[in-house]
Symmetry: none
Subunit: 214 residues, 4 copies
Amino acid sequence: MSSRSANDSKRRPGGRSARVRQAVLDAAFAELGEKGYGGLSIEAVAQRSGVAKTTVYRRWPTRDELVADALDSRSDRNEPIPDTGSLRGDLKEFCEGVRAKLTSNHGKAMLKSLVAAVDQSPEIIETVERFWRERRDVGGQLIERWIRRGILRPETDADLLVEVILAPIYLRVLLPGGPLTGDVLTGFIDLALDGVLEDVTPRTDKHRSGERNL
Amino acid sequence: MSSRSANDSKRRPGGRSARVRQAVLDAAFAELGEKGYGGLSIEAVAQRSGVAKTTVYRRWPTRDELVADALDSRSDRNEPIPDTGSLRGDLKEFCEGVRAKLTSNHGKAMLKSLVAAVDQSPEIIETVERFWRERRDVGGQLIERWIRRGILRPETDADLLVEVILAPIYLRVLLPGGPLTGDVLTGFIDLALDGVLEDVTPRTDKHRSGERNL
Amino acid sequence: MSSRSANDSKRRPGGRSARVRQAVLDAAFAELGEKGYGGLSIEAVAQRSGVAKTTVYRRWPTRDELVADALDSRSDRNEPIPDTGSLRGDLKEFCEGVRAKLTSNHGKAMLKSLVAAVDQSPEIIETVERFWRERRDVGGQLIERWIRRGILRPETDADLLVEVILAPIYLRVLLPGGPLTGDVLTGFIDLALDGVLEDVTPRTDKHRSGERNL
Amino acid sequence: MSSRSANDSKRRPGGRSARVRQAVLDAAFAELGEKGYGGLSIEAVAQRSGVAKTTVYRRWPTRDELVADALDSRSDRNEPIPDTGSLRGDLKEFCEGVRAKLTSNHGKAMLKSLVAAVDQSPEIIETVERFWRERRDVGGQLIERWIRRGILRPETDADLLVEVILAPIYLRVLLPGGPLTGDVLTGFIDLALDGVLEDVTPRTDKHRSGERNL
DNA sequence: GGATAAGCGAGACGGTACGTCTCGTCTTTTG
DNA sequence: CAAAAGACGAGACGTACCGTCTCGCTTATCC
């Protein structure tokens, strides 16, 4: 994995290069967690990893590439898709997983790093997109399953649904917007599933609000 | 109001102090727009505003206070509440306004600044909360109106609804998540209003999913 | 003295600036003596003088300016003109003085520094020329005196004479050319004073060597 | 001869080793001419000669050895001894030759290299001495000839005379001391040949200055 | 209406980190 | 097995800002 890494398949998997590479990524990841993106200095990473500064620069010409690589080397792949037996239960578990990750020390640092670093380098953007795509894949499969079971309407836009449910969670991590209790998560889920309109209008009217001023 | 500013109501509104203050805030705001939060240097602000560096430090001991003050001095207050005659129209207009602000150069810089600066200083948190509260107030009043008109269910949580609709917009500004076209905004609104469940379950079952596995 | 120094007459003669300046020049001079021109690093000078590297750079933008200033701040001015009562005695004393200076640790380092640095910066050239001029002035006055006393021919070119006598001394310091004993110095002086031709030709023939193949 | 070179007579005169050796020396010599001793970097030499840096280091452990070898490989041997028919003419031609060499790009770089490198390694000292010895040999033979012809006094110290005449030339190359025109050279020669004393004292008094205060 | 205290400009200072350069060593691959 | 290729540790380079400080000068307020 980490298929974009600077010097993959260098010479030998266990050679000096590989050891150096791992030491630097570990140090960078740790520094990210402690100081955040803005506080990460190449100098500190080099020192922490016991590697010469020039070596860091040789492999990762910019800070962003290092950050992207460090985050990437730690990203969970193959996350399991919740299967609790109920739609709300699955979504709740999905959200809980996201919350757990994001509110951790590293998760928060990572998210903030991405925000700070985005639109600075394509590497970071790539990382963000992969990061985002993974969530959407898990959520998407989950939703597909409930569409097939007839609980969700067939025309449901899975990506949109995932986005609407997850966005408030992400945002509350990024900006001080109140705690992320289980109830709050349930609130997001219910709102997305049920909507808030008075239940008097046939679905077919949805986009023609007509005289009822929807 | 800027009620927190270091030396408000110093001597005279048109005195040297006031002029200096304004020049610095203008410069800081401009720099924020051009370089973003991470790229804002006190040195540059001082030079751009034609003010001695020491003067900046005297009034704004930390960079965050300066940023908060600069953002604050430009924030729109008294935003009008949309009134188009339809709920979806009002929400669309509301979202369009938010989008317009956030996707502007300054808006984006400002949002990123806030994210970067949060949990560093109480001043910033205060600014974020005021910033957020204003949106919620406008959205809240808008929603209250449509509850009173019987279009939205009385128990609707206005803050929650606003959060669910706006969060994806904010997030797409912060992370590279696709364009913010009018259709996308409509998608967010519709999902929040209508939900995505097959319309077969009475509302009262909402929290007891029962055998239908909602 | 040191009339070209970066920031003369800064604020106060005993202020922090002056102290810093002196500390740096002392350190630079010492480093020059120990490591020579090529081995002098700004970093080392800064550390040795207990001054921040940036401060050194602020006052002496280039290494050469620092070197020139350091050498300059130590150069003896107002050297006494020997007066032993005899021409050869005066010249011997003059040469002994030059030798003593040049063969000292610092003298040698300084001379080599000048050679290495010359044709790199005008500052250094200026220093070399002042350095050289001082010698020529002393020697020149000495020689003038003996011209007036009728021992040296009136048309004697003082500068030329000084150059011919001193050059071998300088060169033996710069290149490994044998020891500089008192006898060697006397040899240079005698040769310059007496010449080596068979003493059969009238002076007036000097530049018309004629049939005698001079 | 280059008898000191690291790996002389390695494989075969035309083998890879020899080709590499020559390429490196050529490149080093060229770099010396262009950048001078101080500006010569092993890295540049390696690149210029199309050879791996490690190869250079293997054969010439220090920069000085490389420089010495490069200079040595180009030094003129078997310089002709001038024979113009007059002493002054011979010396003039001799001096012109020296001047021509030293004021050339390579000559100057070489001389400065020697000064800079001396007392760093025995190899360099050896080179300097050979370099110096060659001059003295040529000058010495020239002078011997004119002693035999009765123009110069028999007790003339040839080495001393050569040194006194050449030293100012060398020095003017090393330090900014004015141009080296033909007249200046003639001045050095005349002074050394004729001396500058009023011509009233018998040679035998030379070292007993007596009442006339020589 | 002239002292007087503040705010201000100017800029030196000790620091930290930057990203680059060259050094000389060491390891790994190639011919 | 030696040359080639190039990663590595080391450390100086010169720059940019940081936040602190001292110093005179200019204000505008208060006596």
